[in-house]
């Protein structure tokens, strides 16, 4: 049977067919839908959203060391969080196959950086596989699983935004049912990397790399496509697809099992062509290695290493190589158009908090999530964002450095569980005075509404204990813990100003569920009475996409209005109401 599947669905399907029984992860675009799709195979695979990638990695690693085939999913920056267990699991090795499914985001469609996960494969000395479409996403997951098990090594499957979120046809197969006894064997020298045993392990890792290179040499995932001899291109992942359109006549070495490098194959390919070009997205990972083999090649000279590649960009590279002027795109019709960046949705509860913070002269240290959008005008109420959990800990840093203003850290609910808690402990332990606001919308919103430890529901949809953010705050030693309704601007203002005037550290939980997840309006649709409106534009300071202003008086787009009523609260002329909309 064939199905149209996204790369992420296909990875999940591969896990199912490969006989995986444990799958874990933390949501992160563009990787999220892998685990969501694994969860559909609930009767065969145990799956969970873990609080963060490190925990997810360790849970799956445990399962694997007990003999189960397992996967863990995350976005590229998630692997930084899980890098600690990755580095040492490489030493310990695995029993059941273990594949780390990581999705990179070239072009930073939904990420704070553009790091290249292939570097982690070399860093941790583990094999990496790079699919170029959905069929390969499924096939390579299964191949990675086999290689992982055969060589007792964790393996990485590296996707990218375009692989994960493109759909193409996939042939479906049956699930391999593995009859194996689960249970970790009693063998400390095998599983305990204290120095005396760790040194032995390190040697094994080095030897293993050699065996893996031999495997890569003969793997069907690496193939030479012989066409014309004048130009040979080494490529991998989605770049392969672009290469086939831009250089249809060129010979291609397509790497799918791309680390450790199949040196013999690279030499064979290079020997058979007149000129060698490397086309890869992000770092010059392959190019650097090809040069280290003493083979002359070109790559970064023509192919950009910043941003994602595309057919159009590579046509530019080709023109440059051939000494032609690249064709410029005719974008004159787009000139002068107003930009349309992503914004906080109409009805978003975070808006009330940012609007209120806008009235205070404070430093706002932000975090990763929908609320990152609070950095845009007109809300413009986020001064810095670093990484997951950074909103909490960096606030403490500003405070301790002696920032002249009061410091507020803003973090989401899922992010708080991910890595905000340790920062909060630090604030209390080291006598900080920051105010931390948890924007608790009862879901992991930005990545498409996943459950987390605070929602009372598991990935499989089962009811579970909902862990209280307020209780955690108190357990960490915070004495000022408040809960506010962010749609009530007065109450929000009261809570924030009280904490601003306090020397103690404090925690404010802004509690209101994401209306996008609830799939309903917060309240009735509002409208502006143009007779009462004085055109003061106060409502426009909310940055609500439903309030349109194009000249005279603002209007509310009734199809977009989320019914939150914030505009009614801020209007000083009582011109906004729900009656008017009826």
């Amino acid at each position: 049977m064939r199905e149209l599947m996204s790369g992420n669905e296909a990875i999940a399907r591969g896990a199912y067919e490969a006989g995986v029984t444990v799958a874990t992860g933390y949501p992160g675009t563009p990787s999220t839908e892998i685990l969501e799709n694994v969860a559909r195979y609930k009767s065969d695979i145990y799956s969970e959203w873990s609080p963060n990638e490190k925990v997810a990695f360790e849970v799956a690693a445990g399962a694997s060391c007990a003999g189960a085939r397992s996967i863990v999913t995350m976005k590229h920056v998630g692997l930084n969080v899980a890098a600690d267990p990755l580095m040492t699991l490489s030493y310990i090795g695995v029993e059941g196959g273990f594949v780390v499914c990581v999705a990179d985001d070239p072009g930073m469609h939904s990420s704070q950086n553009e790091q290249d996960t292939r570097q982690y494969a070399r860093f941790a000395k583990v094999p990496i596989f790079e699919p170029a479409d959905s069929q390969e996403a499924k096939d390579f997951l299964m191949l990675a699983m086999d290689v992982s098990e055969k060589y007792q090594t964790p393996a990485i499957l590296r996707s990218t935004t375009r692989v994960s979120h493109s759909r193409s046809l996939v042939d479906l197969g049956e699930r391999t049912v593995l009859e194996r006894e689960i249970g970790i064997e009693k063998n400390p020298p095998r599983f305990v990397p204290i120095p005396v045993w760790g040194r032995v392990m390190k040697q094994k890792v080095a030897d293993r790399l050699g065996f893996l290179a031999e495997e890569a040499e003969n793997s069907e995932a690496n193939r030479i496509e012989r066409r014309e001899k004048s130009l040979g291109i080494v490529t991998a992942s989605m770049a392969y697809q672009y290469v086939r359109e831009v250089w249809p006549e060129a010979s291609v070495l397509k790497l799918g099992f791309s680390y450790p490098f199949p040196d013999g194959l690279i030499r064979e390919f290079a020997d058979g062509v007149d000129r060698l070009l490397v086309v890869e997205e992000l770092d010059d990972f392959i190019e650097e290695h090809v040069r280290s083999l003493g083979i002359e090649c070109q790559g970064r000279k023509f192919v950009p290493g910043v941003g994602e590649l595309s057919v159009t960009r590579l046509r530019g590279s080709r023109a440059m190589m051939e000494g032609r002027e690249p064709k410029t795109l005719d974008q004159r019709f787009a000139e002068g158009l107003p930009a349309r960046p992503p914004v906080l949705c109409p009805g978003c509860p975070h808006r009330g908090v940012f609007y209120t913070l806008g009235k205070h002269d404070v430093v706002v240290s932000g975090d990763i999530g929908c609320y990152s959008l609070g950095a845009f005008k007109p809300l413009d109420r986020m001064d810095i964002i670093l990484c997951m959990g950074g909103g909490v800990s960096m606030a403490h840093g500003f405070d301790k450095a002696g920032d002249r203003r009061k410091v507020v850290g803003v973090v989401g609910d899922s992010t708080f569980f991910h890595s905000g808690i340790t920062g909060l402990i630090d604030i209390v332990y080291n006598r900080g005075s920051s105010t931390i606001i948890v924007l608790d919308n009862r879901t992991t919103a930005m990545t498409g509404h996943q459950d987390h430890p605070g929602t009372g529901r598991t990935l499989g949809g089962d009811a579970t204990k909902a862990i209280s953010i307020q209780d955690i705050g108190r357990a960490c030693g915070i004495e000022r813990v408040a809960t506010v309704n962010p749609y009530d601007l007065e109450a929000t203002e009261r809570a924030i100003s009280e904490d601003m005037n306090s020397k103690e550290p404090s925690l404010i939980v802004s509690l209101a569920p994401c209306p996008l997840r609830e799939r309903r309006r917060v309240g009735p649709v509002r409208a502006i009475d143009s007779d009462l409106c004085k055109g003061c534009k106060r409502c426009l300071k909310l940055g609500c996409p439903a309030i349109e202003f194009d000249g005279e008086v603002p209007k509310i787009n009734m199809h977009l209005c989320g019914g939150c009523g914030l505009c009614e609260e801020v209007c000083p002329h009582d011109a906004i109401s729900s009656e008017e909309a009826e």
Binding site: L4, P30, T32, H165, S168, S310, L337, A339, L344
Partner: protein, 197 residues
């Protein structure tokens, strides 16, 4: 070039307008007609009310899932200035199907005077940008059917006339892509769109 045989479709609009469903239906209709198919869409941050584009390509062999600029056989827009923003995607002889819908971006509403404005001469610009243009209010037609959210399917109906896929493939694709309850409404929306000239 190898992409001559590839048919490319782009849908553009504002996050939340139902572009994903429209592109899924094109992909399924192409699949039911025996083509190789690839699509690409936007998830995550880029979705939040921002400008969005979805790609569908089909033919005997498809490589890139994203449509190279200047090659789209048809361009469907659920918001009129988004059609202009992505106008450079269309092939010289491509068909543009644009709904006369405006969603004013926050950058226009909230930024003080002198900054960006929503253009007043959209209709005129569209005519200049697209030699083959179908320009109508898909939202109004959907509202007349009883649900403004069906605007994407009305637009799809109009756009389907620019693609050589059989009617039964469209019907099958719609039926398998929407909920049972919504099926009749969506099939009617498609029919109405398909009759737009």
């Amino acid at each position: 070039m190898s992409n001559v045989k590839t048919t490319s479709v782009v849908f553009v609009g504002v996050g939340g307008q139902g572009i994903l469903l429209a592109s899924t239906i094109v992909a399924r209709a192409a699949m039911l007609s025996g083509h190789q198919v690839k699509t690409n869409e936007v998830h995550g941050m880029a979705q939040r009310g921002g400008s969005v584009i979805a790609h569908v390509r089909y033919g005997s062999e498809v490589f890139s899932p994203t449509v190279p600029e200047g090659t789209a056989t048809v361009l469907g827009a659920l918001e009129q200035i988004e059609a202009l923003r992505y106008a450079h995607y269309i092939a010289p002889d491509g068909l543009a199907v644009v709904s006369a819908t405006s969603v004013v971006p926050v950058t226009v509403s909230s930024v003080s005077s002198g900054a960006a404005t929503y253009p007043e001469d959209v209709a005129d610009r569209l005519k200049r940008a697209f030699p083959r243009l179908v320009y109508f209010d898909a939202g109004k037609m959907a509202l007349e059917l009883g649900n403004i959210r069906a605007a994407n399917i009305v637009l799809l109906g109009a756009l389907s006339r620019g693609l050589a896929l059989p009617e039964e493939a469209w019907v099958g694709a719609i039926a398998s892509s929407v909920k049972e309850k919504q099926r009749d409404l969506n099939l009617r929306a498609f029919e109405i769109g398909r009759s737009v000239r």
